[in-house]
Amino acid sequence: MNSFGYHIILLLFTALSLPAGNFAFAKDLEVCNTCAWTSIKQAVEAAEEGDRILVRSGIYYENSITINKKISLSGKGNPVIDAGKMNGIFTIDKTDSVLIEGFILRNVEVSYRKDFAAIKVFRSNYCIIRNNSIENAFFGIQLEKSDYTSVLENKVVGEAIKEASSGNAIHLWYCNNASIEGNYLQGHRDGIYFEFVSSSVIRNNRSTGNLRYGLHFMFSDNNLYQENTFSKNGAGVAVMYSKGIEMTGNLFSDNWGAAAYGLLLKDITDSSIRRNTFSGNTIGVHAEGSNRLQVEQNTWTRNGWAFKIMGSCDEVKITENNFISNTFEVSSGAARAGSNVFDGNYWSSYTGYDLDKDGSGDVPHRPVKLFSYLLEKSPHAIVLLRSMFTDLLELAEKVTPVLTPEFIKDENPSIKIIKW
């Protein structure tokens, strides 16, 4: 054993022996049909700080289990806790460092007055919620004013039908330094909901088939989300009123419907969008009131509109992205240039040439089609989509551009698909 490992062991040993003044050793409390404890709630009440509660497999009809001491709860062999549509299940109340793992939690009450959740963490820091499977809950995992919480590898599947009577799968409110990783979220109102959350990480989650947003961000600064998949959600992903957001390597796909976005940016500043894939969305990215964004190395394929950038955006730099087979590439209602830059992107609809063989086209690419420009002025003109007339108009406009906004153009369109 190397000396580093040795030191760690020593450190752990010291740490464990420190509270030995109060009680000699933490003990295990087992819960099962034939054990000393048959109810989780009673076991929790009987437990002391530092104890472990091991719940053996079986179905437990319990609800409103409040945890107010530092203990860990582990489900062994997938025990089921069924709230029977009465209240929530676990509440960690003003207690740090609680672990809840390995449970199947079912049937949390739907209420219009209280936010019942399968697991609620309230004013408690350093808690870990992992490997749970939550079925048919109102709210899945709800964190309030709790810092340094980890929500790992949970599966939250709801049966939401209406937005008004459904909660979010993972809901964070006034939290810092949370990490939400490897979860699977489906069938709720929002997959992940962030409000007043900062310095947190959302990684490797799959959020799919939720009624509203796969991920919903409000007033949450300096967060990172990467490698997530958001697909087939009612309205895609919404990131609003936040700054310092890093979005990297996510997949936004198949958010298809009359009001669906891959990614909706509203009042986002000083953020970056890198290496994401937007595929098969009605609107890939819709940016509104968003400033100083770095949009780099993303790929848009088969979207209705790849990028809708409103006149209220400034200093958005869109570089080295791939735009492949989108019905409309860029759409903008603006009649001014702003300071947004499109540079060095690959556009599959580019028809220019590259005589000097430097890899970028010799004539600029104008990604705003005449028809999409007309649509911004008169949305009803969409009924002429795919008609011969608009095709002819487009052709005429390509030869001699008179109407399309001159200011949105890519001076150095890449000839080849950009790889990184």
Binding site: A258, G304, R386
Partner: protein
């Protein structure tokens, strides 16, 4: 009735025997076949096939219709000397003509579907077939109507092509201009009305609402879906289509019935 059937049968086979019908059939076979062969699946290429149908079917129907009318004038004159009612004669001619054109089209697209299509897309195929068939009947009627109006072939051809161009392109231009002039007003109903009046637009929208791209239509699409989803909406659009067959046909038959050939 028996006579009328004979005329239909004669015109039908006469058309099928000519190169036109074969070419028309081959065209649909090759183009849709090619599109399907190179694309991921039937639903993916429906938009392209739709565009081809909207372009080619009215064009061929109107050009071939008027050509057939002018070419068969002498034969029609001969038949008029027989104990035949003119209405029977011309109705038979129309039905035979439109029938054989539709058959070429349906066979072309149907054969391709049998080769490359899948059962899930059968609804879309039926929709395309319906649109193409109705357009054939409409534009053949228009062609005959133009033919009977103008003795001069050049003039007749010119007018026929102009009508085709109007339905396909010019109408949409006016439509767009209208939308821009009245952009401050709520235009959902006007837009629906406008697109019902033109059979080409109507066919395009009815197919598009069944495609994935319906989501692109946004709230206008929602209005359309609401309209075309209701019984009255289907009835109104079906009625509009039938009216487009009936009006030129009736006008043609009346004119041909009274005309001093």
């Amino acid at each position: 009735m028996n006579n009328s059937l004979k005329i239909i049968k004669y015109t039908f086979y006469d058309t099928l025997r000519s190169w036109w019908a074969i070419l028309y059939f081959m065209f649909f076979l090759l183009v849709t076949g090619g599109l399907l062969y190179f694309s991921a699946g039937f639903t993916h290429s429906v938009a392209s096939i739709l565009n081809i149908i909207l372009f080619i079917v009215p064009l061929v129907s109107i050009v071939f219709g008027i050509m057939y009318y002018y070419n068969s004038r002498e034969f029609a004159l001969l038949l008029m000397a027989q104990p035949l009612r003119r209405r029977q004669l011309f109705l038979g001619q129309y039905l035979g003509l439109a029938g054989s054109l539709s058959l070429s089209f349906l066979a072309g697209i149907g054969l391709v579907f049998l080769l490359f299509g899948s059962m899930e897309a059968i609804g879309l195929l039926l929709m395309l077939m319906f649109a193409g068939t109705v357009l054939s009947f409409i534009f053949t009627a228009v062609a005959l109507w133009v033919g009977v109006q103008y003795e001069d072939r050049t003039k007749g051809f010119g007018i026929a092509i102009l009508i085709w161009l109007f339905a396909l392109v010019i109408y949409d231009g006016l439509f767009l201009a209208f939308l821009f002039v009245f952009e401050e007003y709520p235009l959902e109903k006007a837009a629906t009305g406008f697109s019902i009046l033109n059979p080409v637009d109507l066919a395009r929208i009815m197919v598009m609402l069944r495609l994935e791209s319906a989501a692109l239509l946004g709230f206008t699409g929602a209005v359309f879906n609401k309209f075309f989803g209701t019984v009255s909406g289907i009835a109104v659009s079906g009625f509009a289509m039938l009216l487009w067959v009936f009006l030129p046909l009736q006008s043609f038959l009346r004119k041909a019935g009274n005309k001093d050939f």
